[in-house]
Amino acid sequence: VTVGRPASSVGTLRLFGITPQRAAHIDELVDEIVDADGE
C-alpha cells in the first residue's frame, strides 16, 4: 500500500515517511474533520 502524490511518470506513488496504518488513521481523521464541518 502506498500513499501520497505521484512521484514519477511511471505512476508509482511515493511513500511518505508514514506507515500505511498511520495513513489510514489520518484518512479517518480527515473524514471526521470534513464530516464535522458538513463539507
Binding site: G17, D27, L29, V34, D37, E39
Partner: protein, 216 residues
C-alpha cells in the same frame, strides 16, 4: 504558455514562469522546500500550518528539514531533499537570538538553494527589514505576511499557480481551518507537529483535505 498535464507551477516574483523541469530545477516541480523557524507553540507553529495548507491547496507538496532523522547526516539529507524540490520558500522573519544565540540555519539553507540556482521565494514579517538583514537579496521583493496566516496564503497564491483553476483565497482559508484542526489532532497524539512523522502526516492529511474540498 503550454499547459502540461494539469500540474501546478510556480512563478517568479518578476513574472517568469517556472517550467516543470527547467535546467535550474531538476527536482519535482511540485515539491517545495519550506525553510522557516520551528516552534511548538505560537507564531511559527501557526505559520507552518499555513504554509502546509496553502501549498497543499495549490497542489504542491511541502518538504522540510523536519524530514531529516536525527541520526542522519543533516547536511547530506538536506542536499537530497533540496535536490528533490523544484522550488523553495524561506520565511526570514525570525531575526531574534534565542537565549542570546542567533540561529543561522535559515540563511544557510537559503544560500544552499541560491547556490544551486533553484527558484526561491522569500517571506518576511516586516517591510524593508530584509534589506537590512540580508542585503545580498536586494532586488528580490519578499512577500510580507505581517505574522498573519491569511497573508501567508495570499502570498503563496500569488507565487504558486494551481492547475487547472487557481483556488480562491476564501477556499484556501477554509482548507487552512481544517488543516489547523488536523494539526491539533496530530499534536494531541504525538505531542507536537514539529517532528518527522508528525510533519509528514500533516502534509499527507492536508493533501487529502485539499482533495476533499475539490481544490486539487
Amino acid at each position: 504558455v503550454s499547459r502540461r498535464g494539469g500540474e501546478p507551477f510556480a512563478v517568479n516574483v518578476g513574472g517568469r514562469r517556472a517550467t516543470r523541469r527547467g535546467p535550474r530545477s531538476r527536482g519535482r516541480s511540485t515539491d517545495v522546500f519550506v525553510n522557516m523557524p520551528f516552534d511548538k507553540k505560537g507564531k511559527y507553529r501557526r505559520l507552518l500550518v499555513a504554509y502546509v495548507a496553502g501549498l497543499a491547496g495549490l497542489g504542491f507538496r511541502p518538504r522540510s528539514v523536519l524530514e531529516v532523522l536525527p541520526d542522519e547526516s543533516r547536511l547530506n539529507r538536506l542536499h537530497t531533499i533540496i535536490a528533490e524540490c523544484g522550488s523553495s520558500l524561506h520565511d526570514m522573519s525570525c531575526t531574534a537570538a534565542k537565549n542570546g544565540i542567533p540561529r543561522f540555519n535559515m540563511p544557510f539553507e537559503l544560500g544552499m538553494l541560491a547556490g544551486l540556482r533553484k527558484r526561491f521565494f522569500v517571506f518576511e514579517e516586516k517591510h524593508y527589514r530584509l534589506q537590512k538583514t540580508l542585503s545580498d537579496l536586494n532586488g528580490h521583493d519578499p512577500k510580507i505576511h505581517g505574522g498573519k496566516v491569511v497573508q501567508v496564503l495570499a502570498g503563496l497564491r500569488d507565487l504558486f499557480k494551481a492547475r487547472p483553476v487557481q483556488p480562491s483565497l476564501k477556499k484556501l482559508e477554509t482548507l487552512l481551518y481544517k488543516v489547523e484542526t488536523l494539526s491539533k489532532r496530530i499534536e494531541a497524539e504525538q505531542g507536537s507537529i514539529i517532528g518527522r512523522q508528525a510533519f509528514e502526516e500533516l502534509v499527507y492529511g492536508a493533501q487529502q483535505l485539499a482533495k476533499k474540498l475539490d481544490l486539487t
